[in-house]
């Protein structure tokens, strides 16, 4: 029995290996280019003659990485916190009340999840311009927040539905108010789901490209994806080792977060997407 699992493992890894190689290829390219000494970057060798870790520090200064990092953090935190605060009451209402328009709201949430920002980008640009908020990272954060609300309500509601009502009803019969029950009984139980939802919103906002590209026009307001893109687009000489170092640093934190959380996503999506 033990032996057959060993054989199965070898076969499984062999079958998966082409895909794994292709998946890891960009990471290898990113890392190896990022640590190459500058003169070697343009020579088509894989392995650098030495690992030049100072590239990261040089890149940090040369590309204004710190400022872009702060901008990214700002828009992502704004989007995440805002979306969760707005979505919790809505998901609670959807899960615990039956009201006229319940089904319509559900459909609206589904549909608005499907409408991507790219289709509306011209209208959004004009909306934001009309309010004089071009270049505003806050406006970008609020747009991310709005686009993530549907996903948040959807994820939270599917989790709220799994929490038995008896717990709350028990608290009510003890004389606790709805608000107190919500705070002391219900929300603590939902903390894991809230955390997972928030982190996925954060990753979405962290990685978003088109809205930031359209609204943020000057370098001091760039978020990380736009900053990295700006190092490549329309330049005569591209400092590829800086580009790759920046891409690696921008990617690593969310990749680690994601690797840690992906099994919750499998569960959450199975609940959310199909049910």
């Amino acid at each position: 029995m033990k032996k057959s699992k060993l054989i199965r493992s070898v076969v499984a890894w062999l079958l998966l290996s082409p895909l794994i190689v292709v998946t890891l290829f960009p990471f290898a390219v990113m890392f190896l280019t990022a640590v190459k000494p500058r003169p070697e970057v343009l020579s088509p060798t894989w392995w650098p003659s030495e690992f030049r870790w100072s590239n990261f520090a040089d890149m940090w200064v040369a590309t204004g990485f710190g400022r872009a990092l702060l901008n990214s953090l700002y828009v992502s935190v704004l989007a995440t916190v805002g979306a969760i605060i707005v979505a919790i009451p809505a998901a609670y209402a959807m899960s615990r009340f039956r009201f006229a328009g319940h089904g319509a709201m559900r459909q609206f949430l589904l549909v608005s999840q499907m409408i991507s920002s790219i289709v509306l980008v011209l209208g959004l640009f004009r909306l934001i311009a009309a309010w004089g908020l071009i270049e505003s990272t806050t406006a970008v954060g609020v747009v991310y927040m709005a686009f993530n609300v549907a996903f948040n309500v959807w994820m939270l509601q599917s989790y709220f539905d799994t929490i038995p009502r008896d717990l709350e009803e028990a608290a009510w019969t003890e004389g606790a108010s709805r608000w107190l029950t919500l705070r002391k009984v219900f929300l603590p139980l939902c903390l894991p789901a809230i955390a997972v939802t928030a982190i996925f919103t954060f990753i979405n906002a962290w990685n978003e490209f088109i809205i930031a590209l359209t609204i943020l026009r000057s370098q001091e307001n760039y978020t990380l994806p736009i900053q990295v893109f700006a190092l490549v687009a329309g330049r005569y000489t591209i400092e590829w080792h800086h580009v790759m170092a920046a891409a690696l640093l921008a990617t690593l934190p969310v990749a680690v977060l994601f690797a840690w959380l992906q099994r919750y996503l499998v569960r959450g999506l199975a609940l959310g997407a199909v049910k």
Binding site: R8, S9, W13, L16, L19, T23, L24, P26, V29, M30, T33, V41, P44, W46, A87, P89, A90, Y92, A93, M94, F97, F99, M105, Q107, F108, L109, L110, V111, I115, I118, V119, L120, V121, L122, G123, F125, V143, M145, A146, W206, N207, E208, F209, I210, V228, F229, V232, A233, M244, A247, A250, T251, V254, L257, A259, Q262, V266, L269, A270, V274
Partner: protein, 289 residues
């Protein structure tokens, strides 16, 4: 009684936020697309469907429309064909399974922009690591200028599109596979069913709702996908890798043809609504079943 109003109060903020970023832009796009509009966005005379007919006569738009169809179908089909066996392997019990899962789902966490930037570098004609890897393996003997012509650039973009679509698709299928009880397979094995028969008569039918959902959701995501093509080629050379989203972006923010750009947006919006209706249908049917 305030309790009757409570649920409405609770959903109001999210409804409001979602509505502002959807309804207002859609209304605005309808306005622009049916008016003669200046480069700076001032509306002039009502022009009916002139912007839409201008699009229909624009060969670049028609080419982008067809290419979008090709792009969407090939990425979705490619990801589907690859994801079913991968999900089945990842669902079976073997050593290092969680590591394999993490590796295969990893591209999902990486921003498409970063992925596209890295591939743009890896596909660089002179110094790109793909050429040097392929040369090293003896597969090619002279460098290929991958991004210099649509003939090589677009297939590469499709392959990268497939690669970044696989994690999401595999995730959906893993959810589906874990809902199939093991005793079904045990019973089938007792009856002497081969692995292929088990796949065709148990796995595939029970996975079908998940496959449907994955197809529709992927169609929507891929149809809308902007960064891969924009970062790698900006739709070039000479619009030869443009899909609707990149063409729309050029019309709106490069050329300043706002009327036609909003017409493209509305055409895309209509196509998306059709996809979404199909999705809602499927999702609701699953709920009832």
């Amino acid at each position: 009684m305030h309790n009757r109003a409570l649920p409405y109060l609770l959903i109001l903020p999210s409804l409001f936020l979602a509505a502002v970023v959807i309804f207002w832009p859609v209304y605005d796009l309808v306005q622009i697309s049916t008016h003669d509009v200046s480069r700076f966005g001032q509306l002039r005379d009502f022009s009916g469907l002139a912007n839409f007919t201008a699009l229909a006569g624009d060969p670049d738009f028609m080419a982008a429309l067809w290419r979008t169809g090709l792009w969407t179908l090939s990425v979705v089909a490619g990801a589907l064909i690859l994801s079913i066996p991968v999900a089945m392997i990842l669902n079976s019990d073997f050593y290092g399974r969680s590591l394999a899962r993490v590796i295969i789902l990893l591209p999902w966490a990486v921003s498409l922009t970063m992925t596209a930037v890295v591939w743009r570098w890896a596909l660089n004609g002179e110094s790109g690591m793909l050429n040097s890897a392929l040369t090293g393996l003896g597969i090619i003997d002279q460098n290929i200028q991958w991004l210099a012509s649509a003939g090589t650039a677009f297939p590469m973009q499709v392959l990268i599109g497939i690669l970044v679509t696989v994690p999401f698709t595999v995730t959906i299928f893993l959810g589906g596979l874990s809902s199939i009880p093991d005793d079904l397979y045990e019973a089938a094995a007792l009856e002497g069913a081969s692995a292929w028969q088990q796949f065709r008569t148990i796995t595939l039918p029970l996975l079908k709702p998940f496959i449907n959902i994955a197809i529709v959701l992927n169609m929507i995501y891929v149809f809308n996908s902007f960064p891969i093509i924009w970062v790698m080629t900006q739709g070039g050379p000479a619009n030869s890798t443009d899909i609707l989203v990149t063409y729309l972006y050029k019309l709106a923010f490069r050329v300043g043809k706002l009327g036609e750009a909003s017409a493209v947006s509305l055409v895309m919006f209509a196509i998306l609504l059709v996809f979404t209706m199909i999705y809602v249908r499927l999702a609701m049917r699953e709920r009832e079943a």
